[in-house]
Symmetry: C2
Subunit: 648 residues, 2 copies
């Protein structure tokens, strides 16, 4: 039990045995980088990631079960760090789309080569001027009956494909989304397999303008690219025709179901809570470990400087983020389960679960991406100046996490999707219709009087009281937003214009609905947890609920539901919960004491996954910081520095 802060048999942040036992980079030096990637320029980073990527392709089957996502993710984190890797889009998008949307002949021709990396592909949809609103993509694929070819063309600057990962340098093929045009008639966006570069010398083909879009806030080891198409011709059979079809004579057959590809996007969003929870878990581990090492200031004049984790402000900064890391992980589990159940159900013709699956991943995507990123940033700032150094690993973690507010569905758009579902459900509730699980509370009356603080000492009753109050707020906000919207429509506005006049209220309602679901999911998990971990998780849940309720105090008091005294009570309990967490520090110290003499732990696999000099398990932070700095590229040119390096 030496490798995580919590010791338990079903600890959620555990390291798989295989990694502890044999797959550390210490035993596979060819998967390690000689110099921290932070000190290489982009070209060298991409080269280095490509080198390791090729090694991985050869080795991965001996190292992990490639079908186990968590194992794969941990291995990738350990080997590639936070810079991204060259074949990411190939495996994450190109292959699945090829597998899911391609008719047999095309699959037969390309799938085997794609699976063995004989070709490298990506998925090119977003354009410079068009993101969320797919219907407005400008790239066209015009069918030429005479030659039985599609002509792919980007007519304007803003129509260039922009952002696809691994498009700029690595890929030689891409699945390109373009507006299908036959005989002057538009049939909306469809996917086409387009060769971009020569398979022999990797030079771009005729009509292809391709390159890297430049540096970004993070992901600089990834060649996000641009692609211009100047009347590029491809055979008719290169359209992905599993669902929609174009016959040689130009006859168009639409797909049976217009949203057959929708599941993929939902899955990506459903997974994001997990990804965010994982990023936050790493950041909070680094920050709590460092806060127990760093000493500053005195509380008692006659004692040494205190660990900064002793300060109430530091605890207030960090412990609620720890609780959130667990909350997001648990809700991630639930929503993935929901996804799997729903998909199984659809196969059997059952669609009961489908409505929730439209709304929840959207709401969670928005809420969790944003709050996990802010939480990571708090972890970073809690490390003071050193948190600002790339040595801490935290600036990169933040930059990666905050990107989640934008990619795969912009946060405001996501909240509106959840809000639209919420509004439908308010209507159904008013008509007494059956409601899906996540919105069942809309049909309940609830208690308009808050019972927080009435069950002192009986923690689960207190938890239930807080959940009931969150439910009350979520219901009220949804109903109020609905009324505001309706009023505008009755006042003569179109539905969409009325919506735009109340979107801020809509998004707020969607947020609270999502947060209620997260809180309920945390509660469900604690109730069903094994006794070995229940007490620790219950402490975290209590902290989480108190923190959430204090954060929503304005909503709780708005209609007289909660009193100022009750809010005061919540705050007092919150501070008590924070102080209770201090046993973490004690645990941490016991861990450190166990670990310090053990040199092997220096190469600990989880330490590598953390990608942080500050978060070392052995607590030897300052030495590690100096070692890292010495590798800075600016120090290479200094002769004395080299001598000093040797000396020290």
């Amino acid at each position: 039990q030496k490798s995580s802060t919590f010791s338990s048999d079903d600890r959620p942040l555990s390291i798989p045995k295989f990694l502890q036992n044999f797959c550390t980079i210490a035993y596979h030096q060819e998967l390690a980088s000689a110099v921290p990637l932070e000190f290489l320029n982009r070209e060298k980073v991409i080269e280095e990631q490509c080198r390791k990527g090729s090694m991985m392709v050869k080795k991965v089957n001996e190292l992990v079960d490639v079908n186990n996502e968590i194992e794969m993710q941990q291995l990738n984190d350990e080997v590639f760090g936070t810079e991204g890797y060259p074949f990411y889009l190939h495996f994450a998008m190109f292959l699945p789309v090829l597998q899911g949307q391609t008719h047999e002949e095309l699959a037969a021709e390309f799938l085997p080569r794609a699976m063995t990396l004989g070709i490298i592909g990506t998925y090119a949809q977003t354009e410079m001027g068009h993101g969320t609103n797919l219907r407005e993509l400008e790239t066209t694929a015009t069918y030429d009956k005479r030659t039985e070819e599609f002509v792919l063309h980007s007519p304007t600057r803003s129509s260039m494909k922009w952002w696809p990962g691994n498009l700029g340098k690595v890929s030689n093929y891409a699945i390109v989304a373009a507006q299908l045009i036959i005989d002057g008639k538009r049939h909306g966006p469809h996917n086409f397999l387009v060769q971009l570069r020569s398979e022999s010398d990797h030079r771009p083909l005729q009509g292809i303008t391709i390159g890297d879009i430049g540096s970004k806030m993070a992901f600089n080891g990834v060649d996000n690219g641009f692609l211009g198409l100047d009347r590029v011709r491809i055979p008719r059979t290169r359209m992905l025709m599993k669902h929609a079809k174009v016959a040689p004579d130009g006859t168009y057959t639409p797909p049976i179901h217009s949203k057959l590809n929708y599941g993929g996007m939902v899955y990506v969003r459903a997974r994001m809570s997990h990804t965010n929870a994982r990023a936050l878990s790493k950041a909070i581990t680094v920050s709590i470990r460092y806060s127990a090492i760093r000493r500053q200031g005195r509380i008692d004049a006659d004692k040494p400087e205190v660990q900064v984790l002793d300060y109430q402000t530091q605890q207030y900064r960090l412990f609620p983020q720890l609780a959130r890391a667990y909350a997001y992980r648990f809700v991630g589990d639930e929503v993935l389960q929901l996804y799997n159940q729903t998909m199984k159900g659809i196969d059997k013709g059952e669609i009961d679960l489908l409505p929730d699956l439209h709304a929840l991943p959207s709401g969670l995507k928005a809420e969790v991406s944003y709050h996990a990123a802010l939480a990571i940033e708090q972890c970073r700032m809690a490390c003071g100046g050193h948190g600002y150094s790339l040595a801490s690993g935290l600036p990169k973690q933040y930059a990666l996490a905050i990107a989640g507010c934008t990619y795969e569905g912009e946060i405001m758009v996501m909240l509106q999707q959840a809000a639209r579902y919420l509004m439908k459900s308010v209507k159904r509730a008013a008509h007494g219709e059956k409601l899906s699980n996540s919105v069942e509370f809309l049909g309940k009356m609830g208690d308009s009087r808050c019972s927080i603080g009435l069950y002192n000492g009986q923690s689960d009753k207190e938890n239930q009281a807080m959940l009931a109050s969150l439910e009350h707020v979520a219901r009220r906000l949804a109903q109020e937003a609905f009324v505001l919207w309706k009023k505008r429509i009755e006042g003569g506005e179109t539905k969409e214009r009325a919506w735009n006049g109340v979107t801020v209220e809509m998004n707020r309602a969607a947020r609270i609905y999502t947060r209620l679901f997260i809180a309920r999911s945390f509660h469900r998990r604690v109730v069903s947890a094994s006794s070995a971990v229940r007490s620790v998780l219950a402490d975290l849940l209590s902290l989480y609920l108190h923190y959430e309720c204090v954060d929503m105090a304005a909503h709780l008091m708005h209609d007289g539901h909660s009193s100022g005294e009750q809010i005061k009570h919540l705050k007092e309990k919150l501070y008590e919960d924070l102080a209770k967490m201090n046993y973490l520090k004690k645990r941490l110290y016991e861990d450190l004491a166990k670990i310090r003499p053990n040199a092997v732990s220096l190469d600990d696999s989880f330490d590598r996954q953390l990608n942080s000099v500050l978060g070392r398990r052995n607590g030897n932070v300052y030495e590690a910081l100096f070692r890292w700095a010495k590798a800075s590229e600016l120090n290479y040119t200094d002769k004395m520095m080299k001598e000093n390096r040797a000396k020290m």
Copy 2:
């Protein structure tokens, strides 16, 4: 009136005439970089900044009035962008400290050479293991009577100087803070002038370990450095002895006033509101301009895609940040004025203003740094994917601004400084003593009932009502925190331990006190504004106050001061204020229409200061984005790309 969004004679974000007229880089190509700095590695960035820095030293006097801080700042922004510049610490810290703390002989020897860059210096105080708490610095300066020398020594790894800007590569001298020890007795930290590198070949001197600390979240054009001292000997006269003195025989004379250097730190903090306001102004300009260019989605089915600025959520994201940019600028003006008045007063023996000057810059530093940074991040996210590209300039602006929460006083420590002042003032108020301006409200009774919403249509009365309510909240929180603290002390805790038990409440009280001051300062500015700008500023003030009050709704309702209905009223007014701001968009379009045909505006000085491809005045965003991307270092190796570049 072509160069800012607002047109007015005293517009706060104006571009000085000299810049508009002759000092654009277009006329001084040697001050421009051929390649965007984002595409150079750190070594090349620093080289390039050094090159421009040397040019600047030669040219600066013909370009601007070097004593005018705003002109200098704008020129620096235009020439150096957001990467920092090589002599920053020399001018900002080394020279002022040398001028302010050095005895005559030492000044005579070094000041003339320092002023002409004959030597380059920095200020080295922070250590790897010691930041805020100066008393615990580990570096020692032990006086050796026999040779009349100080021996400077860093005894441990954590005692290495760490973080000072320009220390790693550029400087050959530094003022080093070290614990003075004479005959085994410690006299606390003092400053010493230490030569680091040879003046002939720039090699580090004997006993000096020096280098760059590696990449950071931003400021990567700056060589923040480390410095280890291994028994380095310097003559006695290299101690900075204007205030404290050490005689040849080791007799120590303490300074007359222990905080003689305090003014410097207060000044730096007082200036930060300005700096933050400026950064936020740039970000909001970029984001609003881009939001008027970017189109996405339809509100009316028969009309083209709308500008994203038409969405209520986008307005809610951006317009309050615009109001904050003004609020922070105005409070920055006031606090600098307070600083200057106080300093003048001190010269005449008047210290009335001093207490406010201890607390306000600390509170503002914490509050404004954090909220300006979050606001910049909202501006960035409001630009969607392109906001994530370094082309937008916004990731760097965020990374620079958020650093302000850490450097020159960590945010939590700053809030506690303000809180301590607040607690003293609560006590004084209870004793009926006279209170300084910023805390006068603590001695007033105030109206316990909120009058928001009672003066519909009379905007200044409404403003007054909101200010009175903010005052009520600030007073209540300060008094409650005081009571909580006292209770713990009465319960037997030491003062400091009791403080640590209530710091979260203390910091909250300090925050609200600061926000009240910002709001009052904005109001004062609007009342005294010239009629030409008053109406625009009044709109912004109204938006600002409504936004602040809604944000503090929980505090307003806590003791029954405001009702839920009043909060609802605040929200409605807030949405009205947002909608009102739409005239900005109209203005923007008029500006664009005027500018588009004018090719010269491409080289507009303010555009360069924005450092953003998205914020171009001429609105030609997509073309500019493509031009920028083509410069990516990854595209240099691609032959086709070069040909394409030529073609397009």
